[in-house]
Amino acid sequence: MIRNLANKTDANIANCESEPIHIPGSIQYGYLIGIQGDALIISYCSENCTGLFNKNITEILGKSLYLFFQKDEIEAFFKYNSKTEQELTRPFVFTYSNEIYHCTSHLSGTITILEFELFSDDFLKLPDLYIQTKRFAYSTEKTNNLKSLCQDIADETRLITGYDRVMIYRFDKDYNGEVFAESLTEGMEPFLGLHYPHTDIPSQARDLYLRNLVRLIPDVNYTPIPIFGLETTGQPLEIPDLSLSFLRSVSPIHLQYLKNMGVNATFTISLIHNNKLWGLIACHHSAPKPLPYYIRISAHLQGFFLTSQLDVRQIADDFELTTQTEHKLNELYDILENNDQSITDKKTLKLLKELLNADGVVIFYNHTIFPEGILPDNIDIRMLINWLSSTVKKGTFQTANVKKDYPGSEQIDQTIAGIHYLPLSRNTGNCILWTRQEVEKTIKWGGNPHKAMTKNEVNATLSPRNSFDVWKETVKFQSKEWKKPEIHAASLICSAIQHQLHMRDLKEDQIRYTDLNVKLHRTVEELANMNWISTHDLKEPLRKIQFYASLILERTYDEIPESVKVNIAKMQGAANRMQLLIEDLMSYSKIINEEVSLQEVDLNIIFKEVLLEFQENIEEKDIVIQLSTFPTIQGISFQIRQLFINLIGNAIKFSKENAPNTLKIEWQEILDTEIINVTAKTGKAYHKIIVSDNGIGFDKNYKDKLFKVFQRLHSGRYAGSGVGLAICKKIAERHMGFIEAEGEEGKGATFSVYLPVETPGLVQVLH
């Protein structure tokens, strides 16, 4: 059964993108034959084949191709076809009824589609091709940017083809198009610089253009020639996919579009770059225009010429920017190396700003803002940086339209439309931020882009806009885009800046340390002085007081009344306490300051002597002493003695009145891993000397406070300067050890002194 496959559906569809343009079921002109199988059975043919072969359609469909063309012609054709290089350059030529037709073929599914056109130019004029190529080579040399090269190509293409208008049409990343270059017949309205919305060339058309590189519409008002197919019983008839067909009938919406523009013939060439549709060479003519075969090829060659140059041109265009940027970069490197000028100086910041051709720059370091240029208030800058550091997880971030991403953009849109953000370190939030102001851009659209398609109210058909008058759109809140060389320069300068900022910090630290060092030295000197002062300025008057008090008491004992005796005794008591205090303070300061050297100290002897000194008190208070044996250690003899005098003295002083009192003095050797309060455990060995009593003890909350100077827990009842335990602590520390206290009120106290077994030396005096 014979079926007419022409797609009759009007564009009664919601959206252009889904129009099935690849299966129109008809052709514009020429002849199409679809053959299948080894017998070359004609299963499809265009209706006008009846005229070509002078036969009925029934006599053509289902018959073999061999019936219509010479056998050797067909075989030669298939031989030609089997060459892997299906070049367009030399078409195959069939002869029929003394007419020459060129033929191209392609495979569509299982169908081999043959397309025939009358061959109007019969040979390729090589000299012309030579001239064309030469002119192109000359043009690449002459032009120094992409735009002028495109202009030359547009001009050349028009020269070759004779179309009224040849445009180089370039797509942006959203596939909106711009007329980048144009060659016009005089008197025509220029479209140069106009933008066209992406809907003008819908996505399925663009996909087709990637596969099918040239498309010709010789006459916009053509009557489509339907294709007939032979349906074999039982099998549904496949509508051939004509994506790769040259003669394919085109979308009626597109034809309407062209008619609305006043165009009657078109020829388009795809410009492919990096496997993507970069743009088109679009040729328009105001009258119908067929295009001979070899002219098409020459025009297509122009397309290849152009795309071959795209990379080179891009690099060349970038080159100037790259050179400028490199120059600025080197200037900055010089300044940063020479540490005198800081990166945060106004002058240097200005250079940093200009490195990226920015309007403003901010260095954010150690929570301080260093701004330069056109910027909003510091508060707003801080907010922006906060948002950036929390949002941008990896790498850098840039935008030419900050409004799109940043919620707080209203605060800053007076001064910032574009930013380039470069974090310096992940944790600290330190970063560099370049900003650009908005550049108001006016885009000229060919017609209102928002009304690219209108829906016909009556029959719900789609029709393209019929007004192509220039429609201007003002785009706001966008800055100039950040170019690759600029972004690259930013990352290059990053580490140099980080380095300089670190050096700055180090310098400041150094100044601080020097400062502190000086202060420390002065303090030590003063302390050393104090030692001497204490001796003479404090002790002398004190001695006098004591002496005169004793003078009164001892010399005139019998003559003075009892009350006076009592008062004078009190005076003496106070003076004596003060003397003790001064002596203790002097000991304390001596321990820190005095230069001494290590001796062999036999602890057994020390304890024997100390206990001997306290013998009276021990007997008085009835204290039972338990004494271990002790090793000989390295230390400062008089300091060690002082330490234990203080501890044992305390134990005796704070023993209970009537209870049986014991004083235990023991020794252990212990590793620092076993000591709870040591943080850095290295396996160091210590002598642990424990002095424990069962006296009145102390509140365990004060076990650390005890050792502070003037901390007295039992003041009033018990005499003491409040410095004794501080002295013990200092002595232990001087020996590179430490001291701890444990106690319980009413139960007793235990003091543990840790002294390292191997003392590498004493904590030295600061000089």
């Binding site: 001796t535 003479h536 002790k539 006098k544 002496f547 004793s550 010399r555």
Partner: protein, 137 residues
């Protein structure tokens, strides 16, 4: 030996009085001459027709301190054998060592009790110096 003449080198007014008063209590007949600094002491020794039996020397004095005097006295042929007792407010071990090294016969710290001082002074006047020596260098 009976002491008849004493020199005291002392700059502090109170200490001067204390010494004099205590001395009078012990033995009012002893002749006491007081120098208020080191230089004056040396001048007094120069000018003395009779050398003193005993010199009490304070360390901390202006112009010439006790150590300097001690050195000079012990260096001179005329005076090197005079008994010298050094007084000081400090009981710094180094001071004491130094005093003996420079040739002092005794070092005593200044007292803070009247009775103590009186007993000490008496012993000195009886030349019971050895019993008072606490430090053997």
């Amino acid at each position: 030996m009976v002491i008849k003449k004493l020199f005291l080198a002392e700059d502090d007014a109170d200490d001067m009085d204390i010494f004099r008063d205590t001395l009078i209590e012990i033995n009012p007949d002893i002749n006491l001459l007081i120098a208020k600094d080191g230089l004056m002491l040396l001048n007094m020794l120069e000018a003395a027709a009779e050398l003193p039996d005993l010199i009490f020397l304070d360390i901390n004095m202006p112009i010439k301190n006790g150590f300097q005097c001690l050195q000079e006295i012990r260096a001179s042929l005329k005076w090197k054998n005079i008994k010298i007792i050094v007084l000081s407010t400090s009981n710094d071990v180094e001071y004491i060592k130094n005093a003996y090294m420079l040739g002092a016969d005794l070092f005593i710290p200044k007292a803070s009790s009247y009775n103590e001082f009186k007993a000490l002074l008496s012993k000195c006047l009886n030349f019971e110096l050895d019993s008072l020596r606490k430090f053997i260098p």
